[in-house]
């Protein structure tokens, strides 16, 4: 609780700085406020379910990978027989929004491809605008590639029972995808079943390398949760993100930590994130503050239900925004966090949260 008080004090201090002298705001961490008008009302009587994954493309469009099957009968009453209510119908799984909150396009969903993920989770666009998707059920052993407008292209693995962390022919419920365009490599946070980061060659979708915690060979040994010093990843390995300087950030969610690697898997350092957290863990997802040095990590903490602002060089928490709850700007199981080039933050919620929110920064990132 003392930590919280200090943080509150720090945030209040930074708010004062922003209000008092706009020019020096760039020296402190940004603060954020919700833009409750984003997104706009969906067309076609659509409603969205849990937000498995989110990403931002080169045009600052926001891509959402949501779970139509997480909606209950009351949510999708208009599709029942007999019809239960006027509202609503599940939206397609993949949705592209612009920064103003307009839905640009939507496609995909259960039944649209034989190996469509049982539970939608990872989404990432590559530099050609192609869309990569994964799922987190214990049958989601696959990675799918689609064109930007939803035409199926290629896949690695398929819907089949997951195996183990030594299997290089299939995946184990992948939570997150990162793409190293220069090397043409795909990094996967693998995942809800396996305990590894696995790297595939994007040219021919073949295995290249993998590693566990501290860069060691992955194992599936049973481990306790909430151990930021644990020798291996626990489940889920929940995010993988590559910074501009080439460092690879991995969320070991239920161990309340983020581990940092070089692209070849060499361990660099780790940050414990609110290590007293129990439940589903503190380090759900992270996004880079888009200034020149990517000075901050913005971490979705789905247990405390705050977005944490953490200094990237030393892991020190310097601010947070949000609060547990259902009002605008609050979170119920915040699960995803992404940033666009202007420093807008977009979040997505799971469980009964089932929404996406936009947060606007107090000052733009300095490049």
């Amino acid at each position: 609780m003392t930590i919280r008080k200090m943080l509150v004090a720090a945030v209040l201090a930074s708010v004062t700085v922003v209000a008092g002298a706009q020019a020096i705001a760039a020296e402190g961490p940004p603060t954020f406020k919700v833009d409750a008008s984003w997104p706009k009302q969906l067309p076609n009587n659509w409603v969205i379910g849990q937000i498995g994954g989110m990403t931002v493309d080169a045009q600052d469009h926001i891509w959402v990978f949501q779970r139509p099957r997480s909606l209950n009968d009351a949510d999708k009453g208009a599709t029942l027989t007999p019809k239960r209510s006027r509202c609503c119908a599940p939206a397609p799984s993949v949705m592209e929004f612009d920064a103003e909150g307009n839905l640009v396009q939507a496609w995909g969903g259960p039944g649209t491809h034989p190996d469509w993920p049982v539970s939608e989770h990872g989404i990432q666009l590559d530099s050609k605008g192609q869309v990569w998707l994964t799922g987190n059920s214990d049958k989601d052993a696959q990675l799918l590639q689609f064109s930007r407008d939803g035409k199926f292209m290629r896949q690695f693995g398929k819907v089949t029972p997951v195996t183990n962390s030594m299997d290089t022919k299939q995946l184990g419920s992948v939570a997150s995808i990162a793409i190293d365009q220069a090397a043409n490599e795909i990094f996967l946070a693998d995942g809800y079943s396996n305990h590894r980061v696995i790297v595939l060659d994007a040219n021919n979708l073949t295995y290249k390398r993998m590693w566990g915690a501290y860069g060691k060979q992955p194992t599936d040994m049973k481990m306790k949760n909430y151990e930021p010093e644990a020798p291996q990843f626990t489940n889920p390995v929940h995010c993988v993100k590559i910074a501009n300087d080439g460092l690879v950030y991995v969320c070991d969610r239920t161990n309340d930590r983020i581990q940092v690697f070089q692209k070849n898997g060499t361990f660099v350092k780790q940050f414990a994130i609110r290590p007293e957290t129990r439940g589903t863990g503190s380090s759900y997802d992270l996004a880079f503050w888009p200034d020149r040095n990517q000075t901050y990590l913005i971490i979705a903490d789905g247990a405390d239900n705050e977005a944490l602002i953490v200094r990237r060089d030393d892991g020190k928490e310097v601010g947070f925004f949000g609060h547990y709850g259902r009002q605008a700007g609050q979170f119920h199981n915040i699960h995803q966090v992404v940033t666009d080039s202007k420093g807008n933050v977009y979040t997505g919620e799971v469980d009964t949260g089932m929404r996406i929110q936009k947060f606007v920064p107090s000052a733009p990132p300095v490049r």
């Binding site: 239960r84 239900n305 547990y324 605008a328």
Partner: protein, 363 residues
Amino acid sequence: MFGALAALSLLAAAPSANAAEALQFRVDPAWPKTLPNSWIMGQIGGMTVDAQDNIWVLQRPRSLTDDEKGAALSPPRSMCCKPAPSVIQFDKAGNVLKSWGGPGGEGYDWPEQEHALRLDGKGNIYLAGNGAKDQMLLKFTTDGKFVKQLGKLAEPFGSKDTNSVGRVADIFYDAPSNELYLADGYGNHRVMVIDADTFAFKRMWGAYGKPPLDVTPAPALYTPDAPNFANPVHCVKIASDGLVYVCDRSNNRIQVFRKDGTFVKQFVYDKDTKGSGSTWDMQLWPDRNNTYLIVADGTNNFIRIIRREDGSVVNTFGTGGRQAGQFHWVHALAIDSEGNLYAGEVDSGKRVQKFVPNMKPQR
């Protein structure tokens, strides 16, 4: 969609009210502010507004999941949160003024599931619940001091019993007669009227003003011409001209009575609605004539603005969803003297939202 979008563009074009413009609302997502003390709210059973336009909320701490009340677990799971007390008073700016109540307490039976609350303007507040054993009505001071109880936590007594209630969903205080009108309820099938001081039985009625009946097995729901009320009888409100409005939720209708229980007429909305029905709660637009009824529909998840005179729908707003201004099981409404509307949600909705009108009520 149902005219709501059209009304929004009207708003944008001409913000000043005029005679041709229909009443419409837009969300104020800044209300309420974050609760103090790491508190979080559960489902919203009921809401009301006091004479100072403060908003009173009756919420359900026991509807919170372990995840939501992680800071109250042992060991704590997370920094947030702890269940807020059941009764919370907010001011118009969204600050908490007062809070009290909740499971436990000596000398009375706190409801198993919080549902209804109403003030009498004399420093008292009346509460009821819709849990399986909530056959009671409670009276407290607005500071939370227990005053009086009718009925008790027990198995149901039925719609003929005049010394208890049957899972009351809504309470209306009629100041001129000092009477309480009860929407009774989730167990019984009646409107019951009692004296607000003595809790003595005065009168009761069922659908069409007939004697109330508990029919077993329960007749088919979604029958707007059913001879009896279904469960739940979910709202009761009295307009300035003395007409009494009752939500027969699962029959998708509102019945209108005189204060003596004489049936006047009924309005039916989306008669094919299944689920939990279309008529959940209602408020009266606070102009001189209560020109409009504002009706929450927690199955279709929108709010209808209805001309009270003839029951016609003049506008709607909201749709299903979790974003600001959308609804997941919109369940309870309150309205202040300026026409600001407050809407509370149940199931996993668990929030209260404020909606600002596009015109002032004319008095």
